[in-house]
């Protein structure tokens, strides 16, 4: 599964994207896995209320299933305009 990160999530983790294999069934379970990957991951995922998630480019929530998903993206709330 491909993970993509934006803004301070990308900066804390230190990469814009990475490939992971996971047995996680939901976004929340995936986050639990990711927190253990590095101190940067732990910092990025310390407070998921500050994060938004998209599964296969669709904005989703942390209870969403990820079985069969190709890509999960994590980012802070959008600040366009």
């Amino acid at each position: 599964m491909k993970l993509v990160y934006f803004a301070w999530v990308r900066e804390r983790i230190g990469t814009a994207s990475e490939e992971v294999s996971t047995g996680a069934r939901t976004v929340a379970e995936l986050v639990e896995d990711l927190r253990r990957r590095s101190p940067g991951h732990a910092l990025a995922f310390a407070d998921i209320s500050a994060l938004r998630v998209a599964v296969d480019e669709e904005v989703s929530d942390f209870s969403a299933p990820i079985e069969g998903a190709r890509e999960v993206a994590f980012f802070p709330p959008m600040t366009g305009g």
């Binding site: 480019e57 709330p77 305009g81």
Partner: protein, 159 residues
Amino acid sequence: MAVRVQEADFDIAAEMAAMTAGRPGIGAVVSFTGLVRGEAGGEPISGMTLEHWPGVTERALAAIEAEARARWPLEDVLIIHRHGALAPGDRIVLVLTASAHRQAAFAAAEFLMDYLKTRAPFWKKESTPDGGRWVDAREADAAAAARWQDAPARGGAGQ
């Protein structure tokens, strides 16, 4: 109908002229331009970098445009949003809405800006004397977008 995400600046008058040329049904064009402020929270900022999600950003803007067109009788819509490094005073975003009468154009322009602030995948990072700082999403922006959720479309003919 157009959505463009680009690093380059834009020319408001040229875009408006291109939109309205040969379109006698257009009686009103509203233009909104967002600029980079030179301060944030009372502190000076020397610039701003806008990150976005290529491909997904364009789709998000197109969806927001489609929603505006479903709500108001619009003759045309243009959204241009810049990304990359910007300096204070630089233009960030242009919204043009064209309709037969002004009210639909005014309302749709406001709607488009409220929605794209919270629904298009852009992230702003300000350069301050203390270093870079990611801009937090504002409650006021979320509230401004939310007020359209139950609002019926306004603005037909005769205004």
